[in-house]
Amino acid sequence: MIKFKDISFSYENSTLGGELKNIDLNINKGDFVLLTGKSGCGKSTLLNMISGIIPHHTKGKISGSIEVDGKDVLKTSVQEMALSVGSVFQNPKSQFFHLNTTDEIIFSATNKGVPADELVNRLEHTAALFHMEDILDRNIFRLSGGEKQKIACASVYAGQPKIFIFDEPSANLDQFAIDELKRIFTALKNEGKTVLVAEHRLFYLMDIADRIVYIDEGKMKAEFSTGEFKSLSKESRKAMGLRAIHQPVINGRAEKVSTTLDKTSVIASTAETGDLVIKDLVFSYDNEPVLNLEHIKLNKGNAVAILGKNGSGKSTLSHCLCGLNKCKGIFLEGKGYSEKKRLKSFDLVMQDVNHQLFTESLMDEMRLAAKHDTSRKEIEEILSELELISYKDRHPMSLSGGQKQRLVIGASMASGKDYVIFDEPTSGLDYIHMEAFAKMVEKLKNQAKLILIITHDYELVNLCCDAIIQMG
């Protein structure tokens, strides 16, 4: 079905990596293949070559040949390839073309000129298969991340391609949505579709994948059957930069601070009062009650994970804490602070840091955030620590995603704010990068800051968090 013969590719703008070197890969009809490797290893590049995005839409140097469903990809347009290959990408937010879910689901089919009565058939069949009758004819913007991703999958499915490729589909999803995704994958497999998934989070695919292909620095390093892969030792997996293959659970290390708990969490100190105290925090959004927290006490020098499924109020809580939402019941070091004061004490590293980059160079960005008396030397020190010093005059938007995140963290460090909230900092990161992030959190803890992390990543929580707020 899919044949890569000695494929090598490098991007025009080759500083961002992701190249491929001499790839030989065969995938048969009906296979379910998991592509994995460290960040930047080239798995996304490989997928994009199946759909034809590379080389027709993304420029670069290419050699070798690719045959997909009998078509020579290098000579076939992307739209023509779309008849055989359906692609689902990582970010649910940016994939949809329409505002209405029904229009979106049949998008792929309408582009192919499928007549109206057949469109109705496909719509009904897809809705039934994906269990989405309740989200038909709705406004896509009002859906949750998991529902949006479902629409993306359904949209591709309704075009009836033979091959499905998924690029890190679980990156932004919570456990429930991942379960749904797993169900969809199983259904696809049962229908005999050929599926390739590029992923960091492996655990949910261990029962479905037939083969696992490991790519390192653009080369095909190894191929395993699922059984072989499962028998790899934990150490060798970590050395490969891969995440856990069993569903991660929270180990006992972190103290749980439930939302309705009324005893204090014991963290490193036996102080009666906390640096950050939440007491009787009630918050509604559009007359819908969202938060109801009785009593939580947290201290600086600790990292606290905020867990809970999507929609349970994690973001709302973080917005309340840092002063973006108006609310009562938040006390910093004993005093009830206004929104204005909280904005000055809290920093938030958003899930999409593109919203937080305002200037034309890294130095300017740091200076914008830094306290008035911060010297140039101090700023450069922070940049060096974060391995960004060689980019100091570059434009922030020219950095990679990981570099941008480090820049925003650096800006936060320069600001000297003692309370820092991270929103999903490790979604889509491989093991090595996640570990590096955990080390950074430890460093911030040593600077006597209080770190709050909104996350789905239990491996991260186990590595560096001292307490948990479980939203439910």
């Binding site: 703008n13 839409h57 290419i62 050699s63 034309e360 434009h395 922030p396 938007m397 020219s398």
Partner: protein, 213 residues
């Protein structure tokens, strides 16, 4: 055919394709056009709503809009800059705004200015700053039909004003004189020039520097 030959063929084909791609609007351009249309309209409406608060300023909202929108226009030409890109942007803008307000003068000034702007920008292959700026000046006159209605449809507007009293209509008549019309035109031209220069500066500092253009 050796490997060198194969690669040469690849290069040739890529060059041919890229020449073809440079002239025609592709899907990625159409999507960019949609995005810019959305930005343009949202920003313009924001300007009108803000300047609508202060009365006389309302008349100058086109000029103010031009200052603010210069960046968007310059970025647009950098990102898409192909045949018909300006025209289609102008047509969409005019049609949408016209459908909201409905005054026929809007459609007249809108479509005609869009055509002129397209012709001028294409003369410089969408890359000459001066021509782009002139193109933008015309582009900024598209909404003239809306607030310019005070002059173009003077009688009807004054009749409307009489509802608020003779003296009031008189004052309005004094306000919307011919010199004022010229001031408005001059302001719009000045605003467009300023906007274009701001756009050029921002383009260089951010969009060219980061490589997105």
């Amino acid at each position: 055919m050796g490997k060198a030959g194969k690669e040469q063929n690849m290069e040739n084909r890529k060059m041919k394709e890229s020449c073809k791609m440079n002239k025609k609007l592709e899907v990625k351009d159409l999507i960019a056009m949609g995005i810019f249309s959305a930005i343009y309209i949202v920003v313009f409406l924001a300007v009108i709503m803000v300047s609508g608060l202060v009365p006389v300023v309302y008349l100058f909202s086109g000029a103010i809009g031009a200052v603010v929108l210069g960046t968007v226009y310059m970025l647009y030409l950098s990102k898409v800059g192909k045949r018909f890109s300006v025209l289609i942007l102008g047509v969409i803008f005019t049609t949408l705004l016209g459908a909201q307000v409905g005054v026929w003068t809007m459609f007249v000034t809108g479509y005609s200015m869009a055509i002129l702007a397209e012709l001028i920008a294409s003369k410089g292959k969408y890359k000459s700053f001066t021509l782009n700026m002139v193109s933008f000046i015309f582009f900024s006159f598209m909404p003239f039909g809306v607030y310019g209605a005070f002059w173009l449809l003077r009688d009807t507007m004054l009749e409307s004003a009489k509802v608020y009293g003779e003296a009031h209509a008189q004052r309005l008549s004094e306000l919307t004189t011919t010199p004022m019309l010229f001031a408005l035109i001059a302001a719009t031209i000045a605003g467009a020039i300023i906007g274009a220069y701001i756009g050029k500066k921002l383009l260089k500092r951010h969009f060219k520097k980061s490589g997105i253009v």
